[in-house]
Symmetry: C2
Subunit: 714 residues, 2 copies
């Protein structure tokens, strides 16, 4: 979609959530049926627009005059909700087209999700809608909700109850599963999360989740936090765009993706690509884009609570006051595991706390306050202010519980005092506290029932180290023509694989240090080549047909004089003859001194396109299985990528190896990423392993590589 189209869509979305009139096609008296529930909800939740039941067989539905068809309505409605069978819905859509109804929601199932016949029907529906300029929601969606005006265009039984009051707010939920979206909406509402809007995208024939997310960010309804449930992105490009827009606007997107395991993906009837890999791509790319990733339904709502209360990122040092020493320890454990920690209590802080606590309690963080501050609430207020003033502290946690009868009294004081604090305040309520928890969440003091849940919810709200994100100036200008010449030559020769010799020419053209090497085809040529190489060298047999050089005996290490080089080359060429490899020659390569072996890679991901990989390399790279993946982008944050690798002791010199210096590695990674971007149309994947990182200021050296080209077919 162009920007103009997105803008038009964004306006349309506002109309969608605020129609003046709506028709329910398939309206029923029976609330076991979708057409019964939609009508009941629209009439019951305060929607002020006109509501027209349409049912050819009834004069009245739920006490309202019913119409036999859309054609008989007294006005052109803003929105038609269609709940008749899939087959019958085609005719209804044709009526909508004739009447120029701008919004049509297809709540019915029976389309592409059921198989080939349904897919044909869906294509027909799509065609009619497109022809008439109708933006169709669904099919197979259970609808949308606007909390502000009571426009509850959904048949989810979640609203079928008494006493539910919808609270408006800056959170939007956008879901590819109707049941998931509805339950998230309800659990959010009843736990005090201010969810203003719900959108369930269903089969997404016209409107995809990404379009809605993007438009929500522009909404005049001031949506600041968008919570998404995704089974598979249909428009990842648009999602990336929306995520970048969110960052600029200071808004946040949180994403829960299902189908992340092989079995889960099969259950989702999803992509055929390697799923474990794909999930890691999501992980890396979402992190890169600043999109928080949720691990489950509760986690999605929990993150939402934190981000809507505290949209500005905060630091990692917590001050804790806990009714129980045990809970304080559990919180400390959970914080430490998540990379957070305890704020230092200065002398001033201790001196201020002392009068508040009984003498037998200690003054260290986490503070075991026992019941006092909850019996005598002025002490609770004082503690919060002391924490807030401490320059060593970034946020406060009050852990309380077991005050079932007095929970609201405590919660009200906590909420009131938290509003006076400059820094975030969180609550952990352990032992009862349902009402207090709901109240505190509603008041913007995120409250949790479990230490681990609290900490996992906080993590996406933390400030990121910005030091590595700025692109360092890099004067180097790549020789694109030289790189492309290598590719063109390979393609001209009908090859889609470029071996290490050609690959290193491409890398060198992009300013990446590569090992010095010469290709030779005789012992005499080898001796001549030695003039240009430093000893010792490695000799490797090279042939298109030879995949595992080392296993075939085709690699000789540590050759440190002319005689051994000559002998090795002669032996390798004999081996080639024995193996029947007429194209074979030998690569003589300087032996690079040992350092930290990393890998650099690129591949075409089925969802996000070309992505770049940085990880632990060497012969056991697969066993380490420790990589970070990002969208190919010239401003990659090397420090952040290194910092998120699991095996940190391989990077910090612990084992007597070199230390990996992010500043030295940065140009290599960024030039590699630039190469990937430049050559995107030509390459399918690149593997550089090992890249040897040296001590000191020497740039990393690429020792081995292979390029896979897309070839002409693609």
């Amino acid at each position: 979609m162009s920007n103009v189209e997105l803008e038009a869509f964004s306006e349309w979305l506002e109309h969608l959530y605020d129609p003046r009139s709506v028709a329910v096609v398939g309206a029923s008296d029976d609330i076991k049926l979708p057409g019964g529930r939609v009508l009941q909800f629209l009439l019951g939740y305060g929607y002020k627009g006109a509501v027209y039941p349409v049912n050819p067989n009834r004069a009245e539905v739920q006490g309202r005059k019913a119409y036999r068809s859309l054609l008989e309505l007294p006005e052109r409605v803003d929105c038609a909700i269609v709940l008749v069978s899939a087959a019958a819905s085609v005719g209804v859509l044709e009526q909508c087209a004739a009447l120029k109804v701008p919004v049509v929601m297809f709540g019915n199932s029976g389309f592409a999700e059921t198989g080939p016949e349904g897919a044909v029907l869906q294509a027909r529906v799509s065609e009619i809608a497109q022809g008439a300029g109708i933006r169709l929601i669904g099919p197979n969606t259970n609808g949308i909700i606007n909390s502000r005006n009571g426009f509850t265009a959904t048949f989810s039984p979640v609203l079928d109850q008494q006493g539910l009051v919808l609270h408006d707010g800056p959170v939007a939920i956008v879901s590819q599963s109707g049941a998931v979206g509805a339950s998230l909406y309800y659990d959010g509402q009843r736990s005090g999360l201010p969810v203003g809007r719900l959108y369930n995208s269903g089969n997404e024939i016209g409107i995809t989740l990404e379009m809605v997310v993007d438009a929500m960010l522009d909404s005049p309804a001031n949506i600041t936090t968008v919570l998404c449930y995704v089974e598979g992105l249909r428009r990842p490009d648009l999602f990336v765009k929306a995520a970048r827009k969110a960052t600029l606007l200071g808004k946040r997107i949180v994403l829960l993706k299902s189908g992340v395991t092989a079995a889960g993906a099969q259950a989702a009837a999803a992509h055929t690509a390697s799923l474990a890999g794909e999930d890691r791509v999501y992980d890396g790319v979402l992190h890169q884009l600043g999109v928080a990733r949720a691990r489950g339904f509760a986690h999605l709502l929990d993150i939402g609570r934190v981000l809507v209360a505290y949209p500005r990122p905060f630091g990692r040092r917590a001050s804790i006051a806990s009714i129980s020493g045990g809970v304080g320890i559990m919180l400390t454990d959970a914080l430490e595991r998540a990379g957070m920690g305890l704020a230092a209590f200065t002398e001033t802080v201790r001196a201020e706390i002392e009068p508040i606590l009984p003498q037998f309690l200690g003054l260290q963080n986490p503070l075991d306050v026992s019941g006092g501050p909850f019996h005598y609430l002025d002490r609770l207020r004082a503690l919060l202010q002391i924490f807030d003033r401490n320059p060593e502290s970034d946020f406060s946690i009050i852990a309380v519980g077991a005050f079932e009868r007095r929970q609201m009294e405590i919660a009200e004081v906590l909420a009131d005092e938290a509003k006076k604090c400059a820094k975030p305040v969180f609550a952990l309520w352990f032992g009862g506290g349902d009402q207090a928890t709901r109240y505190l969440n509603g008041q913007g003091v995120p409250c949790f029932l479990d230490a681990e849940r609290l900490v996992q919810a906080i993590a996406p709200g933390l400030r990121r180290d910005p030091s590595g994100q700025q692109a360092l100036p890099d004067e180097f200008q790549p020789n694109v023509a030289a790189a492309r010449a290598v590719i063109d030559a390979a393609l001209a020769a009908g090859r889609t694989v470029i071996d290490e010799v050609g690959g290193k020419r491409i890398l060198a053209a992009y300013g990446i240090d590569v090992v010095d090497e010469r290709v030779v085809d005789s012992p005499a040529a080898a001796l001549a080549a030695l003039a240009a190489l430093r000893l010792p060298v490695v000799a490797k047999l090279r042939s298109d047909a030879l995949v595992h050089k080392a296993r075939a005996g085709g690699v000789r290490l540590g050759l440190d004089n002319g005689v051994s080089v000559g002998t090795a080359v002669a032996e390798l060429l004999k081996l080639a003859r024995d193996l029947g490899l007429p194209d074979a020659d030998v690569v003589l390569q300087e032996q690079v001194p040992p350092g930290v072996e990393l890998l650099l890679g690129a591949k075409r991901d089925a969802t996000f396109g070309m992505v770049v990989t940085l990880g632990i390399g060497g012969v056991l790279a697969e066993a380490w299985d420790d990589v970070q993946i990002r969208l190919a982008d010239g401003a990659l944050d090397v420090r952040d990528m290194l910092g998120r690798l699991a095996h940190q002791s391989l990077l910090d010199g612990t084992h007597g190896q070199a230390r990996v210096n992010a500043a030295i590695l940065a140009p290599t990674l960024r030039r590699f990423a630039r190469m990937v971007v430049d050559l995107t149309d030509d390459i399918e994947a690149v593997d550089v392993n090992p890249v040897i990182v040296h001590d000191g200021a020497r740039a990393p050296t690429a020792v081995d590589t292979v390029f896979f080209l897309r070839g002409k077919a693609s």
Copy 2:
């Protein structure tokens, strides 16, 4: 404690929970004070025994006649609850001693937890109690609860509320933190977990958590599941004993330990030992003992729900019926991540399901059933029975939600039908369902609000593969005298370290294959030694003063003829002279062909004593950081230990290495464990790295090792 003492304690515990009369010393009218709340709870929760308030300043407390001291009571009470100041409590205890009160609970703080003065007071209290044969609960405990008889000897404000009815049941909660224990008790009770008893152990001067856990297992009150919150085990030996008893009785212990990170441990003012390591010891030992480990408060109760409902271990294949496709996928992801999976639906199963579902829904597992079976509950019953009959299925999960108004109707049918099933049934209620969740848990159908939580709760209930647990017969008889001779010689020479040569003699005496080697002190001796060794060999300089042989240039590899061996030995001895190492000699060692490098270790853990380690070895063992730790025990389950290592691809031949065969490795590990048990009094730690595992039936070879002895001081 001897078995007889434990038996006596077990009887005592039953009296503790069922006293005929109780005195509250420090009783008050003010329920902000502990002495106010205990009295209120005892009078309010239906306890039928006599309750005597003791308060020197009041004639009446809470409408009951008050006594000035214990000495004035009309009878000798079974239990005295003491809530006066720490200083005043000594006098009260002396009265208890004089009156021969069998149970005294010290709820007051101000003892060892506050510093040296409190510790002195605590020692005095301990002395009086011991002298009088009083078993004292606490001090610094907030008490105990018996749900059956309303004996609520606690001042936790958790009970200060209206409408709470205590439900008896087979779950016991035993906690080292009073606030944690009380909150767990309450959250358990109100969520339908049948918690019969709560015990908060406080400062544990006479009675430790382990004693109580052990006694609970023997209780005639039929406790089947003991949930523990632990900050540090004081009697780990007793805990191990109790865990083994639980296994024999078919009962289960679940443990939540706090202070597992360095910061958490500091907060807990706990042990000084390396905590990261220590936590791994807990992990391995608890797994070995069949004790489920909880990661947080909610997880502890969740596991309790599953184990109390389904005490018999079950298999890993789930049948899922979900109201939402999305929830089905999330469940599948969560199951797969936790090592469980989906049951196959046979043709029969599909044929049976088909009539129940609308045609547009698929028949694969996880079953997306939409709303039908929840609107028409006979379909729900039928589905459960179909799942239960499927021989491919081990347990069923019903995922429902969003039926707030009809939740109890659905829950009752689910509970009723689940009782007719032979296999476990679990519920996931997503979108509301608080009342249904509570009801289902109370009915023994564990119900959760989140897919991940459900799966994490199920995991400890699964059947373990018993194949590796039986000790294979091993005819080998170790030469204990030979091993001890090496140790004695070292100790006699004033050494507490035994190097690889001596170490391998000990290993060999225990039937572990070691690399063939000879120690030589001249090139001539080296040539003579070659007669007994296979070429190539490795030459290593050996000296007590030489820690990093390789870094000092003291290792020569791949010596494949007499000349190179002679030269290497001469050079190494020269190096020794240059380095000023008068004790140096050279070890000539057969070069072992490459295989999988593992490590075997033993160390004296501060909590559990000697433990054995099996993990990924080699020079980067620390970087892999991938080990399993167990109590030293001759019946170690090698298959299970290997299976829980993280880097499985290093074990299965993926990288062209040998495959690690558990059956071949088993004797090596078990003989090593036997050695550790035999030599426990002499050794402090052992490191064998690498142990090279070969392809085929050849036993693994220990290549390098070091033994650390305890020395005479200990």
